[in-house]
Symmetry: C2
Subunit: 584 residues, 2 copies
Amino acid sequence: MILDKVSIPEDLKQLSIKEMEKLASEMREIIIKKVNATGGHMGPNLGMVETSIALHYVFNSPVDKIVFDVSHQCYPHKIITGRKEGFLSPDKYYKYTGYTAPEECEHDLFKVGHTSTSVSLAAGVAKARDLKGEKGNVIAIIGDGSLTGGEALEGLNNAACLNSNMIIVVNDNGMSIAENHGGIYDNLKLLKETDGKAECNFFKAVGFDYLFVKEGNNIEKLIEAFNKVKDSKKPVIVHICTLKGAGLKAAEENKEKFHWMLPHTLDNDKIERVMGECYESLTCDYILKKAKEDKTFITVNAATPGVFGFTKDFRDALGEQYCDVGIAEEHAVAFSSALAKQGAKPVLAIMSSFVQRTYDQLSQDLCLNNSPLTILVYWGGISGADATHLCVFDIPLISNIPNIVYLAPTHKEEYFAMLEWSVNQNQYPVAIRVPSNGLISTGKEDKTDYNILNKYEIVEKGEKVAILGLGTMYPLACEVKKELSLKCGINASLINPKFITGQDEKLLNELKKDHQLVITLEDGVLDGGFGEKISRFYGASEMKVLNYGAKKEFTDRVPVEELYERYHLTKELILSDIVNKHLI
Amino acid sequence: MILDKVSIPEDLKQLSIKEMEKLASEMREIIIKKVNATGGHMGPNLGMVETSIALHYVFNSPVDKIVFDVSHQCYPHKIITGRKEGFLSPDKYYKYTGYTAPEECEHDLFKVGHTSTSVSLAAGVAKARDLKGEKGNVIAIIGDGSLTGGEALEGLNNAACLNSNMIIVVNDNGMSIAENHGGIYDNLKLLKETDGKAECNFFKAVGFDYLFVKEGNNIEKLIEAFNKVKDSKKPVIVHICTLKGAGLKAAEENKEKFHWMLPHTLDNDKIERVMGECYESLTCDYILKKAKEDKTFITVNAATPGVFGFTKDFRDALGEQYCDVGIAEEHAVAFSSALAKQGAKPVLAIMSSFVQRTYDQLSQDLCLNNSPLTILVYWGGISGADATHLCVFDIPLISNIPNIVYLAPTHKEEYFAMLEWSVNQNQYPVAIRVPSNGLISTGKEDKTDYNILNKYEIVEKGEKVAILGLGTMYPLACEVKKELSLKCGINASLINPKFITGQDEKLLNELKKDHQLVITLEDGVLDGGFGEKISRFYGASEMKVLNYGAKKEFTDRVPVEELYERYHLTKELILSDIVNKHLI
């Protein structure tokens, strides 16, 4: 195996083209095996094997600095920068993250996981180099799908003016996670059809020198191209055409499915994953029904349809009533706000982690205009995710903006009652935190009138202690209630707050009569969240309050059970807190 | 006067070109007079007089829908859509806002004030029209300066794919608030030099049809162009070249100064505004000194240098150590984070209202990477500003992100001690809320060791009541202390928290010994802010807490004194709260 001889970039430089080609296929093999075992990004990495080899052959990392975008295509880079064991040895499969991580290796510059950041970050790296009077190449990698994100476009506009070396490799595989969306893709297509020779060239129009590489999976051609731009004194775009999933037939043929995959998808290639009944599937059913009834009902998302179960069939069925804006969360919010303001019925689906990209649009374009948009926030909650994809910050982010109503359903019937209310009302921007803790059904219709804002539900009226279990923390609230009854003989009140964005002052005041302790449970960071507002409400009263939720920290692949322990989000730890603090 | 005959767009349609030209000069005259009296946006409005007339002549608002960007160029539009009294009668000068406002008029579609939103909003308007099966033109106005904002670029990419009518008027006056920055401006320049004929065309590359209008202040030419694109079945760009400040010599000659002006600038045209000693001027002095000592010290901002007192001289003196990235707040944060991470010494200046545009970059590009960037947040605090430019949300926005240290200085010496600490440390991203309540000097050097995070300062140790006066609310804390002493004979403790992002648990615990009430005062929205965390901290204890700050609401030009009353931010109201609630 050539791979035996290659551990660090220096080792590559001794190889012939032929040997590097053999190395590429060896790398491909271990990536496929590893990703199939652990799950992860398959297509993006297979497409970038040759580019990674050629980059490290031509450039001299870490003196030359490579900045990845999203960095879900960094597996080949990891293999040739000292971390091949993470792909060779099953017992090391989980040693390294799936993203660039400076704490792992000097060849990784930034911790990244959200898209469209590489050009801006690399521009900063290049400018720092110039200010320090240093030399070296700065290389940003960015996929065609990531190009449409506002941060990438802002970055390109500014990077073009950098009066010194900066190389931007546009990895054009003709795909985002799903298909691409937007006007610039016609131009990219034109450039590919004309071997990069078309006069009207997006990159040149933004101010870059430009080099086109038709065979982006050909090591020799890539080396030739990178040698041409190496030590360039001006910002230059190298537009390479790669094949997403290259070398794995299933991935080449089904690019969306193999963008990111669950473990053992390959072993079960014949078995199509079928979505069982879940919030995603039921929401799709709901949307299809609504869209049929109302031609102005439209579903919007920003490049992650798979997250919501928006399959190809679903998208096709909706036709003009479905809109994927590509990686463009800011646009998604402003566009949807205008749709709502003008009397259409938009539903915007977005992941908790990516709603972060659009605070100002939520505030200014949406809430200030009070557009009756419905936003479905998916995956909100404490999890064992990578630090780059945590979903615990959406409550502080959304709920402290005026006008918006942010709802936290606890079960299926409640979720659909809220959704139905939201799409039928015309007064408020509404966000609903789609439960991420599995489908729970009460079997009973939720007849709540959600026009009465901020009315909490007392599920069981008790005394002494009241437990407010917000959204996905409601089941824990039930457990705590049971535990209090069992261990302390206390019949606690069980409350489902439903509304994240407002306090039920009447109910909270009434609790003062026969309760001495209020416990709040939320599935997100405590700082700026739901519970603190309850603490503020009771600040001047005799009521004691305990807030439970996540600590303000970036956790990185910490098992969720460990986090629950850390945050005392278990019935046992909550009970012992209450007892230790002499609160009952 | 022609203006006597024109109140609504319909009236325009009876006029000849000559009459419209006369109308333009009459409108110009009243705009100049009004803006000189009240302050406001001069240059942008003078440049758009002819365009506004031509648009309303050709199109049929509000059936045809015009969406403005920033909307600081909407005065001419307001004059011809029923609101001329706001420019003719000094007693009505304050009747209408300086931005589009749907509550004023059916010809205004959205409440906007931040840049780069019009294309996305208009795309939503157009899509809603199509879903509803309606007809009509949708016109977005956007300035060349606003083009570089991520939201605008995301919007353009998506608007280009809209398979129906949408007209985007690019108002190219060759300026942002200050000069433009970025690669696309070379392309705009090329287009102007070639009468729009250059093959390499940014707008075409993004997928638009394109029409060039050289004389953007010529009503006849504009009408001709708008008639050409009217009822277009495809998205089209109309690139018009206008003169910022047209018709007012001083404004034409000094475009930056007359972008937005204070009242009576024209009357005092000979008297150059000289910045007295203030946080802005002293910070500039500090930056110049630092930049001289350290060649890697660099100052970054996003298109609003005037806000920070970054004059032309200042910018020139810094040379390569100054970087205005244009309207591109997301890029500004990512770029600065990378600069810091690579060992340069960046300081990023940003307005509280605009820091909202970059939450995810603060979280992912900056804080997750722990880059030792210094951010100066200007203008934070409760004010009588327009709803679009409130500066009360930066504390919840910034302070609930992990890793960052957000500091609230109360006086000059403290501010510079914090700044000096921040630029010399390498451990944390740091933001400093530059005081917006005038320069207060103690005359004594601040010797605090800021490496010890979250250590509050007990300025005066008292008993019973402790008052935490955060940043610009510190003077009120002093007043409340005095009032408590005078009226109740209580010697309250006075505390300067300094740190917004963390609690001094030791100090807060010690207060429990001889205090029964803690009062927090903050100059921003309470929800998700500083005080609620103190309430959470004391939730399970006997300590009573009262949090004071702004309500979660969009206020619109409400006098600050009225807001202080509303939020009980006066010594009298706070004292009466304490007494009424029997807290002492």
